[in-house]
Subunit: 359 residues, 2 copies
């Protein structure tokens, strides 16, 4: 599973995670969250982080272990705070998560109520981790290849094409885009069946350049909640609760979804919109820039960063954008823009296959 | 790797670890140290511990991760205390280690000096764990089957025959033996090429009934250091530093080895005896009782517990026996006793295939 015949791309992936994403330095306590399937990447990350003078500890995140927990736990157990996991989170400087499930559907049929109880009990640990240097990535494995409709070899090429890129150059472009977007207080997506407007006054555009997500490649903000007007057609499918939803069309008035349809999974879309007050408003508007991602794979870590796309999320906004929309969910939906434009105030940010800095 | 088709023996193994060995109870914070190869047992242990109302966290112990650490670490890094691992150890009530390497020789060629530096830096963590409820076991995997000269299926039968036994009954016998041994202050092993004597005055016999080692099945003590006299022939091979040593013959005077030979690996035996002052004295004398272990496999967790055997260890004595011998090593050597006797004072404890309670 590792060693002399290790794919050199695994070592390169590890270098990006350690050197670029989390900037591991001497004396750092590093937590690597691995799975049995991402063991080899854990070895490579350990090697690189140790070269930097850090100490690595590896935990095993297994959906099958989690499934056993959910199946066996009573309510009292579900609501206990895992003090050992909290002590560990408190004591680390860096958290690197190497997702690679044995079976992407291992948790498919767990009672959502049980999941919510456990999620509340561990929220404080998630909050601790968000204050550290942290990054989430994927190690290519058979279960993810299967979900992406590819052979393992094809999926390896897919993942490394998306991640092993020049992040310094990508970062420069993203920060340039952030700078231009923040000169204006309005954003507009125009294209086939689409003309969506929002105010971004007082909001921050975040340049996501691979520090927390690997791969990344997007700029995102939270629109002013009541300002969203118009309609948009999302042509890229996505998953919610294990179901595929595609060809979503939404119409907004004063920030609220007033009309909707889906070519597939309309019932699921309806359920999303009815979850709470925030789930029928946008919490995010964003522009994807990663041209190393060649196609959608129903994995949001990748899909929302596809180059020449925009995406919007129903539900919870990110604090770092000064967003205020609150919701139990955050559901991203993506639109290709080869035939469209992104306009900020009076400035064309993207048009028909080109970002402004390529025009 | 798990789930519906899980070998029911894995679930039974988990029940023994959780219910008998570590007595997991509601509210316990449990740390499971797994490897990619022992993932399925980690799932089963999580299920059982969760049924008891405990919360399980799983870490990944990988010799290949450790190898990457040793290869990449400079001296400063080797000597750092892993504060995250210490915080985790501090915060748990129970530690269950599920050994199952991908390759038993992954650490074979690491510089021993590096290993010693890291071992010193992590000693305090090992000491913390020893104060918890802890247990070490093996999950059958291909690397261990290979080392044991068996197919995986044969090795599974071997492991479960040794572990899935009536530990309450075994415990009763072991405590009875401890009681009888502690009525006396002398111990003597007699048999082919063997007549070894030691004083056990002021020493404790420990009944090892599966609380810390699974499998277990031995009573052990630390002999009075200068009292060991006579000779012994160890007919079961063992490993030291990756080499097999067999047919060891030792002669003692006033506690010290004054003559030695080995049918194979005599150079390694010589090296052991020369490590330090304590390594040419006995730190342990013990009687193995586990008749579920059908043959030696060069894995001391099993070999020293084989029924109808005795073993002695050169080097470090255990505190819990009131032993005082100090050494950097503790090297166990085993002798079958079907043709021998164990005598405590004037009482025959074992003779020619029978323990006293079977006579």
């Amino acid at each position: 599973m590792a060693g002399a015949d290790m794919d050199p791309r695994i070592e390169e992936h590890a270098r990006i995670l350690v050197d670029w994403s989390t900037e591991v330095a001497r004396g750092d306590m590093v937590l690597v969250r691995a799975t049995p399937e991402s063991h080899d990447l854990a070895v490579a990350v350990t090697r690189r982080a140790t070269e930097k003078g850090a100490l690595v500890m590896v935990t095993m995140q297994s959906d099958e272990v989690s499934r056993a927990f959910f199946d066996a736990a009573d309510d009292e157990t579900l609501q206990m705070v895992p003090r050992h996991a909290r002590a560990l989170a408190d004591s680390v400087d860096v958290v690197i998560s190497l997702a690679a499930p044995l079976n992407t559907r291992a948790l498919a049929n767990v009672d959502p109520r049980k999941m919510m109880l456990a999620s509340k009990a561990t929220q404080e640990i998630a909050d601790i981790v968000l204050k550290k240097r942290w990054c989430v990535t994927v190690h290519p494995c058979r279960a993810l290849a299967q979900q992406a409709n590819m052979s393992l070899e094809e999926y390896q090429d897919f993942v490394y094409s998306a991640t092993l890129i020049d992040w310094a150059a990508e970062s420069k472009n993203l920060y340039l885009m952030k700078e231009h977007l923040e000169r204006h207080t309005e954003i507009r997506y125009v294209g086939p069946e689409t003309d969506l407007y929002a105010s971004t006054e007082g909001r921050v555009w975040v340049a996501s350049d691979g520090k927390h997500n690997m791969p990344s490649g997007e700029v995102f903000t939270a629109p002013v909640e009541d300002s969203v007007e118009g309609k948009i057609y999302f042509d890229i499918p996505f998953m919610f609760g294990g179901r595929v939803i595609k060809d979503v069309r939404l119409t907004f008035e004063k920030g609220l979804v007033v009309d909707y349809s889906a070519g597939q999974g309309e019932e699921s879309l309806k359920r999303i919109l009815e979850i709470d007050e925030g789930s029928s408003r946008l919490g995010e508007m964003a522009i994807g820039t990663n041209r190393g991602i060649k196609k959608y794979t129903l994995n949001m870590l990748f899909d929302e960063k596809i180059g020449d796309t925009v995406h919007c999320a129903l539900g919870r906004a990110y604090e770092e954008c000064n967003g205020r929309n609150e919701s139990a969910v955050h559901v991203d939906m993506i639109k290709t823009m080869h035939e469209g434009e992104v306009i900020a105030g009076d400035e064309v940010i993207y048009s028909h296959g080109k970002y402004f800095f390529e025009m």
